[in-house]
């Protein structure tokens, strides 16, 4: 759709990393919160957002999650507590800590799951957030998707403590762990354990999920070239999380090819519906350009209105 010009601007695809979003989010409760950076399509869909409304947002239509005002990097679905979608590397980490602060302030036991890339770990925002989370025992579950590359810079050239990125959190006394990010079941188990810990003992946790993105940083970037070799990408594709899961289901769970085919067809149908819906939807009228710059009504926060949880 991006290549067809339906989606504009930056578009960061999640292909290859799906196991992390699906496994992690599946381990959460509906009332937990999820934050992500700009590579947020997978996280948003995993959280349960309507694919039609996600596609419509990517197409910039009025029926999109954010009425077309957010776009690919700012998918937000407040009702499902998917708090966004942020474009400044590391910039959303303090926000996640803030929501956790609010949970603590109110004496709740929700968990705030905050996805970040390994490229965000060295940022000031990350360190200030890790410090505050540790200092105040905020219920933030950091899930660091280490896909080994910033845009074109590998982790070993960006993060001093790169062999074990989670050490950065450990430096603040935050408990940490590592998981194979291509194995969705492993991810789910790891996050489930971590979430229990965060929920129960009211302290942060940092989980590093080792994963790989099969395509370039964004649609505009090459998947391989100067910064990584094609053979490396091909090697990684051998552990495609979808194939891994499929193999396991066939081997261990008595699944049948036909069932899996049916699931794939259903997914293809959902995508097709989403595209058709987005295509048919109108863009927001120009007269709405200045809406929502300011909040005009009192008690306008979705939380005040008793923000529903799906």
């Amino acid at each position: 759709m991006y290549a067809l010009g339906k989606i504009g601007g930056f578009c960061h695809l999640y292909i290859g990393e799906e196991a992390v979003a699906v496994g992690a989010v599946d381990a959460l409760q509906p009332e937990d919160y999820v934050f992500s950076a700009y590579r947020d399509h997978g996280h948003c869909l995993a959280r349960g957002s309507d694919p039609k409304r996600v596609m419509a947002e990517l197409f910039g239509r009025a029926t999109g999650l954010c009425k077309g005002k957010g776009g690919s990097m700012h998918l937000i679905d407040a009702e499902r507590r998917f708090m966004g979608g942020y474009a400044i590397v590391g910039g959303h980490l303090p926000l996640a800590a803030g929501v956790a602060f609010a949970v603590q302030y109110r004496g709740g036991n929700e968990v705030v799951l905050c996805f970040l890339g390994e490229g965000a770990v060295p940022s000031g925002a990350c360190h200030e957030t890790l410090n505050l989370a540790a200092l105040w025992r905020l219920p933030v579950l950091f899930v660091c998707e280490n896909n080994r590359y910033g845009m074109g810079t590998p982790v070993e050239r960006a993060v001093a403590l790169y062999t074990d990125v989670s050490q950065n959190a450990a430096a603040y006394g935050i408990e940490s762990g590592r998981v194979d990010g291509m194995d969705v079941l492993a991810v789910r188990q790891a996050v489930s354990k971590a979430a229990d810990l965060v929920r129960g003992s009211r302290r942060p946790y940092f989980l590093e999920a080792r994963t790989y993105r099969f395509l370039g940083h964004s649609m505009a970037d090459p998947s391989h070239g100067h910064y990584r070799s094609k053979s490396e990408v091909d090697e990684a594709k051998k552990r495609d999380p979808l194939h891994l899961l499929k193999a396991r289901l066939l081997a261990e769970r008595q699944a049948v090819e036909a069932d899996l085919k049916a699931i794939e067809q259903e997914a293809a149908r959902a995508v097709q519906e989403a595209v058709e819906f987005a295509e048919a939807s109108p863009a927001l009228a120009e007269s709405a350009l200045e809406d929502d710059v300011y909040t005009r009504e009192e008690g306008a926060s979705w939380r005040d209105r008793g923000g529903r949880v799906q």
């Binding site: 919160y33 999109g64 999650l65 954010c66 009425k67 077309g68 005002k69 957010g70 700012h74 937000i76 679905d77 407040a78 009702e79 708090m83 966004g84 979608g85 942020y86 474009a87 400044i88 910039g91 959303h92 980490l93 303090p94 926000l95 996640a96 800590a97 803030g98 929501v99 956790a100 602060f101 609010a102 949970v103 302030y105 000031g124 925002a125 200030e128 957030t129 410090n131 505050l132 200092l135 809406d291 929502d292 710059v293 300011y294 909040t295 005009r296 009504e297 009192e298 008690g299 306008a300 926060s301 979705w302 939380r303 005040d304 923000g307």
Partner: protein
């Protein structure tokens, strides 16, 4: 009752915190130290550490945290020790606080106040003496206020806390000890309402925050020369109360704007442009701005005094618009 500006803020915030449990204060040294400028004196004792939160010296981190807390439905008041330090948090203010409402298509809002002193004091030098209101006023999604008197400070802070949007609330170190009559009880002054602090018919002086006091003093000096200046205090910097400012400009035909910030692309330039758009045919000449000098703030006292607008410079500007020697 007669209170200092600092006491008025203390009273205002205290009343708001009693009124709404969602309001909390966060910043450096706001709790045990009682506030760097004692604005939060007595708060820890009354509200406890849950609601009066001391932070490490990490403006980006704790301002961003406050934005997140506001998104989740609380009503944080962030104290920045000075707005010079808020520059570190600018990404959180500009890219998150100002934009989350818009980017989410109206799903989320950020009812946040960021407050602290925002202009020069005495000999605090270049990195501690800046007036940055023009930066904040530039951002759609933010509101900004700069009260000059204790009465205005109390009423405006209440409105800022109750507003559903992020509000940049600019105080001044040198204003904290100033005294004035403050209204009793719970009253609010709406954001976006200017006030004519002194009526006159010969010239309009527009000034806010600390510079309002300079303008009033200049008006007294001018009165002794037989010139009656009308002094208008915008009080809120964004949104500006243009109808009130324009009515005065139309009445006198001569306008002098007094601001402490730097001249190029300062807030006064916007006020002037807005006035030209409305009352061009009633102006007797170009609008004159008296601004801080276009230099980083020097340390030496005499140089610092030269760099900040004073009564003499305002009086000279008035003579200029009145075509007098």
């Amino acid at each position: 009752m007669r209170l200092t500006y600092r006491e008025a803020l203390n009273q205002s915030l205290r009343e708001e915190m009693r009124r709404d449990d969602r309001v909390f204060l966060i910043g450096e040294d706001v709790a045990y130290y009682q506030g760097a400028f004692k604005v939060s004196k007595g708060f820890l004792e009354e509200f406890g550490s849950r609601r009066i939160v001391d932070t490490p010296i990490t403006e980006l981190g704790f301002t961003g945290l406050a934005v997140g807390a506001a998104m989740a439905g609380l009503r944080p008041v962030v104290e920045v020790m000075t707005f010079n330090f808020a520059i570190l948090a600018l990404d959180q203010i500009v890219n998150n606080a100002a934009k989350i409402r818009y980017m989410s298509g109206g799903q989320l809002s950020v009812p946040l106040v960021i407050r602290g002193p925002g202009s020069a004091a005495h000999q605090l030098a270049a990195q501690h003496s800046q007036s940055l209101e023009a930066w904040f006023c530039h951002m759609p999604g933010l509101k900004a206020a700069g009260p000059a008197t204790p009465h205005d400070a109390k009423g405006l802070l209440k409105s800022a806390v109750r507003d559903e949007n992020p509000v940049i609330f600019i105080e001044a170190q040198l204003l904290y000890p100033t005294q004035g009559e403050v209204g009793e009880g719970d009253y609010t002054i709406p954001l976006g309402a200017a006030e004519v602090k002194r009526t006159g018919s010969d010239v309009t002086l527009i000034a806010y925050s600390k510079m309002l006091l300079v303008a009033l003093e200049a008006a007294e000096a001018l009165a002794r020369e037989g010139i009656q200046a009308e002094v208008v205090d915008p009080r809120t910097l964004r949104p500006l109360d243009l109808p009130t400012l324009a009515a005065s400009a139309k009445k006198t035909g001569k306008v002098v704007i007094v601001e402490e910030g730097w001249p190029f692309a300062g807030l006064g330039a916007q006020i002037a442009e807005s006035l030209y758009g409305r009352v061009f045919d009633y102006l007797d000449g170009p609008i004159v701005r008296v601004t801080g000098r276009d230099v980083p703030m020097p340390y030496a006292r005499n140089l610092e005094d030269a760099a900040i607008p004073d009564v003499e410079r305002v009086v000279a500007a008035v003579r200029q618009v009145l075509y007098r020697k």
